[in-house]
């Protein structure tokens, strides 16, 4: 008789863990620097979605998760929970970014110029050796731009948003700010009506795929957001910290970031009745243009739901976005269905059988 083991689970669980460790063990043989810098987009996503800026910890998580980016980000989130917070850094402004790349599709020419920087936008996606993926700038005397060899060394450009001239002319609607200081979703989860800063924080930690999917609904029919990218920028932001007792301010490092401002349609500004253009903003750790663009579109959709036509407002509903873009939550819950559910299923079966008996009685 094979009674469902009461205490036999531990050994099987231990074995399952060992099998996984064996399967992904080659990861530990990979060179740290090459892996961290060569797979920087993966590391960036782990830091962004894991909500902790540390390339080295992200690398360790990447290895532990066998290359599963979503799983790796859980390691970083969990690590945060064991760290005492000593304070909050000063606020950063995207306009103060040391630029590595900055483009705008709203204007042909912008102040500071279009800086293409390192980008896959111009890649021909062909496998194997071919004419498209061999470097062609070896003879270009102006490459690399500032004499550095690594992308994080070559830029020394600081420019404000490409939309600044429009702002100066008062053509862009400013969203009212009712918050004295930003909400902190890691300490107090917001209740409706959700402050914009809270929604922005949740989206900045959101999963790239989820953000993309929600923003895509708005782009292709369940909404009318067809934005123009006003300013998309990649680069480094200095982080400063003010000492709680001395009041002195110190630079504690730089973070690699992506920011995006998109321009939507125009709207009558309730402030003075003038027609003004609307904008949305996206921001995240690391280089992740897809996510920053998606976030700016969602910001636009949520603040100007009037642009939504037909169907239900998926992307324009903060309730929909705030609870469904976090991968730590969604992937965790999707996977929890693997846990034993035999007690609830037993209860389901009894209710089902009762309903069937009722049906049979009716048919007699």
């Amino acid at each position: 008789m094979s009674y469902v083991a009461v205490k036999g689970g531990s050994r099987a669980i231990g074995a399952a863990k060992s099998l996984l460790q064996e399967m992904i063990s080659p990861a530990w043989k990979l060179d740290n620097n090459n892996l961290r810098d060569g797979f920087s987009f993966a590391i960036d996503r782990i830091m962004g979605e894991g909500s902790l800026y540390s390339p080295d910890l992200a690398l360790e998580a990447f290895k532990r998760a066998g290359g599963d980016v979503m799983d790796a980000s859980i390691y970083l989130r969990a690590h945060r929970s064991s760290c005492q917070r000593i304070g909050c850094a000063d606020m950063v402004a995207g306009s103060r970014m040391r630029l590595v790349r900055r483009i705008s599709s709203t204007f042909k020419e912008i102040i500071g110029g279009q800086i293409l920087g390192p980008s896959s936008d111009y890649e021909i996606r062909l496998l194997g050796r071919n004419n498209h993926n061999t470097a062609s700038v070896a003879d270009d005397p102006e490459y690399p731009a500032k004499g550095g060899t690594r992308t994080d060394e070559c830029g020394d450009f600081y420019f404000g948003s490409a939309l600044q001239p429009l702002r100066n002319d008062n053509l862009i609607k400013l969203l009212p700010n009712h918050e004295d200081k930003p909400h902190d979703v890691t300490r107090i989860f917001p209740l409706p009506p959700y402050p914009r800063s809270a929604i922005m924080q949740i989206m900045a930690r959101g999963e790239t795929g989820a953000m993309l999917a929600f923003s895509y609904t708005s782009m292709r029919g369940y909404g009318d957001v067809h934005p123009t990218i006003g300013d998309l920028r990649l680069g480094y932001l200095e982080v400063t910290f003010t000492h709680p007792f001395t009041g002195g301010t110190a630079v504690i490092g730089e973070i690699k970031t992506t920011a995006c401002e998109t321009v939507g349609s125009f709207i009558r500004d309730p402030a003075d009745g003038t027609m003004r253009l609307t904008t949305g903003y996206g921001f995240c750790f690391g280089y992740n243009e897809t996510k920053a663009i998606s976030m700016s579109i969602l910001d636009l959709a949520m603040n100007y739901p009037g642009f939504t036509i037909g169907g239900s407002q998926v992307a324009a509903n903060p309730e929909m976005i705030i609870h469904h873009v976090d991968a730590i939550e969604s992937m965790g819950f999707a996977n929890h269905f693997k846990l034993p559910h035999y007690v609830t299923f037993q209860a389901d079966l009894q209710v089902y059988q009762k309903a069937r008996r009722q049906e049979e009685k009716k048919n007699e």
């Binding site: 469902v4 859980i74 064991s82 989860f189 409706p192």
Partner: protein, 276 residues
């Protein structure tokens, strides 16, 4: 990982969670929002219960962790191993010996005492989610004691199927005030919430809510006056291992047919040991 911290979570977070627990005890059945820290186990796998347990445990406690009534179930084992690795508290499988019991989907068969805390892992803390997904609207409904949509759901099910289709997570009214989701325990366990001697705490990590049923609190399932609340029954069934009857059973399909065993494995063990 910072191994020096007792019970993993940083002290500020523990304080916040304890405050939420106190608030929850003060307003039985009301769901208290909390920030909910990420745990080293995946969200949706009991991180809410885990945060409550870690914030409540002290060195002198004895811990029991069950899933589906079983101490050996995969998630119970993982959870217990993690908790002991960060606290060194003693563990037990014997219900009567435990001071804190973390559970998923069951209430132990052995009656609990005033010295015990039962911590439930909760997937859906908001009882109204089934009929109203909007958080703001849910709050208004609770404030107005407006559970009309739940009554309509109950009526429609009863009209079509003879009874509610809700088999687990059956809505309960706490202390005559708030309607509450009791976590996915079977209907069998619902009457056992009523006037229980133990403090019952509910943690939803992913949904970021903590709530409580203090000892000796009235807990009534939502039901029509002229209808019986029907629990799962197992007529004529006895546990093939210990011979118990009238408890919640696991139904197991094997080559030679269907077998029944106690869902509460400790209860079964105690019977086999002849302690009852």
């Amino acid at each position: 990982m910072n191994k020096r911290i007792f019970a993993f979570i940083d002290e500020d977070a523990k304080k916040e969670i304890r405050r939420a627990i106190l608030k929850a005890v003060a307003i039985p059945g009301y769901t208290i929002p909390f920030a909910s820290r990420e745990m080293p186990i995946t969200r949706g796998w009991g991180t809410g219960g885990l945060q409550i347990t870690l914030s409540t445990l002290v060195e002198a406690d004895t811990l029991k962790v069950i899933d589906q009534g079983c101490d050996g179930s995969v998630n119970a084992v993982t959870m217990r191993n993690f908790i002991t690795s960060v606290t060194d508290v003693a563990t037990t499988t014997i219900t009567g010996e435990a001071s804190i019991i973390q559970t998923r989907h069951r209430i132990p068969e052995t009656p609990l005492t005033e010295d015990q805390i039962l911590v439930f892992q909760v997937p859906y803390p908001e009882v109204l989610t089934t009929v109203e997904p909007d958080t703001a609207a849910q709050k208004v409904m609770h404030a107005n004691h407006d559970y009309g949509k739940m009554w309509v759901l109950l009526y429609e099910d009863t009209a079509q199927f003879g009874d509610s289709r809700i088999s687990h997570r059956y809505p309960v009214e706490i202390n005559g005030v708030y309607l509450m989701d009791p976590s996915p325990i079977p209907k069998y366990d619902i009457p056992r919430l009523h006037n229980n001697s133990a403090l019952m705490l509910f943690g939803a990590g992913r949904e970021k809510r903590i709530y409580a049923i203090p000892p000796y609190t009235s807990v009534q399932p939502l039901k029509f006056e002229d209808r019986e609340f029907s629990r799962e029954t197992f007529p004529g069934i006895r546990c093939e291992r210990c011979g118990a009857a009238g408890v919640f059973f696991d139904q197991v399909y094997l080559d030679d047919g269907i077998h029944y065993y106690c869902s509460d494995t400790d209860f079964c063990d105690r019977n086999v040991a002849g302690e009852r």
